[in-house]
């Protein structure tokens, strides 16, 4: 038992060290998937959050339907729908169809995060802006959103981490990100456990870095005064 553990650990360590170039490349793809999908998802989320608080019924319905669909269906189904839908129609790559699928998915959760943080900013802020002659749109952009964004950062950071981990589903449509490389290596060596653990190490490192970036942004924004 003890010897088994030692030999497994030795094998794992060797695999981790020897495969580093392979996984560095895969990590870059994972990061690119995450960055692109989160970047788009922020705009998608903001857009639907604004629809939800628009007080215009049809627009609220559209936002609700979108959020309902995203929440009510498995992410893997959403990704495959984007993959088969988009690659057939526009001939875009697997990478982009997954990115858009993930953006579509995360956008719904980010919409709810933004809606909550926008509504948490007191009515007095809007009134102060409006009483100075600022239009509703200008007040939203200059007064409400900067504060709402700051308040949204902790839950957003959480959603970014979920997005990073969910990008592993890209493996199922042939994007060679971390999880895909790990399963390929596992199949080649008949040693899935070792390679899955290697992939886990890379995910942990990436999540650690992402958390660090988010907390740096939080600190930087906190300097500019709190209520």
């Amino acid at each position: 038992m003890y010897l088994q553990f030692i030999s497994f650990w030795g094998g794992f360590w060797e695999a981790l060290v020897n495969s580093r170039e392979l996984f560095f490349e895969a990590s870059q793809l994972t990061l690119a998937l995450t960055a692109v999908s989160i970047f788009i998802a922020i705009f998608v989320g903001l857009f639907f959050a604004l629809l939800k608080i628009s007080n215009i019924r049809p627009l609220e319905w559209i936002a609700n339907a979108y959020i309902y669909i995203v929440r009510g269906t498995p992410l893997i189904v959403q990704i495959f729908v984007f993959y088969y839908g988009l690659t057939n129609v526009w001939m875009i790559s697997g990478f982009w169809s997954v990115s858009l699928g993930l953006a579509f998915h995360n956008g719904a959760y980010i919409a709810e995060i933004f809606r909550g943080s926008i509504q948490s900013i007191g009515k007095g802020q809007t009134e102060a802006g409006r009483s100075l002659g600022m239009s509703q749109a200008l007040t939203m952009r200059r007064i409400i959103l900067p504060q709402a964004f700051r308040r949204a950062l902790p839950p957003l950071g959480n959603q970014f981490i979920i997005g990073l981990k969910d990008s592993s589903l890209a493996a199922f449509i042939g994007v060679s990100e971390i999880f895909a490389v790990a399963t390929t290596q596992g199949a080649n060596t008949f040693d899935y456990m070792t390679w899955l653990l290697v992939s886990a190490v890379y995910y942990l490192i990436l999540v650690f870095l992402l958390t660090l970036v988010v907390s740096l942004i939080e600190k930087k924004m906190a300097v500019s005064g709190d209520e």
């Binding site: 007095g124 102060a128 802006g129 009483s131 100075l132 002659g133 005064g225 709190d226 209520e227």
Partner: protein, 244 residues
């Protein structure tokens, strides 16, 4: 007769079934300082907010500088530039510095250049005695300082009318004086002001007219001396004796 800056005829306002303003007739002449008093819930804030179209009237007419304003047709953003407002809870923008608060509307709404807005902003902060706080964030200020910044911020739009809704009610007693002093200075410069306040000393000293509201109606109006010393209406007497 002096030029009327505000004229309100038969103003009615409902919140659902709650009839909050009942056939209000009200006017303010140029450079006049009018103090609104009345019990909690009598409609003072609602009245003030209707003048700024933060609340929409249900019926009646509102004239600002002689022009009737119909919020459905007219651009209320332009009207609001002439009518500054100061709130009980300051409502400073916490993500902007003191100077940033003051510069925001002139640059964003009027398109003033940054340098010009900065220059004017600093003058205004000087005027309210807070020049040295220009680069601080509001969270670092005392309540009295916050309220003076809020006044400077409203003045930055060069309004011709200023509305104050209980500007000192959220302040510690020792900070009330500095805000009232700023308002007195403003009155001396000839600003047209409508002030909701419980500071009767301020009303006596600064107001040209005191208006007493009760349950959505204007019950009595007159010079401070008359209202405070010889109130004609029983309800005014009852109210004054309850607060003095």
């Amino acid at each position: 007769m002096a030029k009327q800056m505000i004229e309100v005829n038969k103003l009615n306002k409902y919140f659902g079934d709650n009839h909050v303003l009942k056939d209000i007739d009200f006017h303010v002449a140029e450079s006049e300082v009018v103090v609104l008093i009345g019990a909690s819930g009598s409609g003072k804030s609602t009245m003030l907010r209707c003048l700024n179209f933060l609340e929409m009237k249900n019926s009646g007419e509102i004239f600002i500088k002689g022009n009737e304003v119909n919020p459905k047709k007219d651009n209320v953003n332009e009207v609001r530039q002439k009518v500054g407002m100061v709130f009980q809870h300051f409502n400073l923008f916490p993500h902007k510095t003191v100077l940033g608060n003051v510069m925001e509307a002139p640059t964003q709404v009027k398109g003033l250049s940054k340098s010009q807005a900065k220059k004017e902003g600093k003058e205004l902060l000087e005027k309210v005695g807070l020049a040295e706080k220009a680069n601080d964030y509001p969270s670092r200020l005392s309540g009295g300082q916050k309220q003076r910044v809020a006044i400077a911020r409203a003045l930055a739009m060069k309004p011709e009318i200023m509305l104050f809704d209980e500007p000192t009610s959220a302040l510690d007693p020792e900070l009330v004086g500095e805000v009232l002093q700023t308002m007195k200075d403003l009155a001396k410069e000839g600003m047209t002001m409508v002030v909701v306040t419980h500071e009767m000393g301020f009303a006596r000293e600064v107001a040209d007219r005191v208006v007493y509201m009760h349950e959505g109606k204007i019950v009595e109006t007159g010079a401070p001396k008359d209202i405070f010393e010889n109130p004609k209406e029983e309800r005014t007497q009852a109210f004054l004796s309850s607060i003095l």
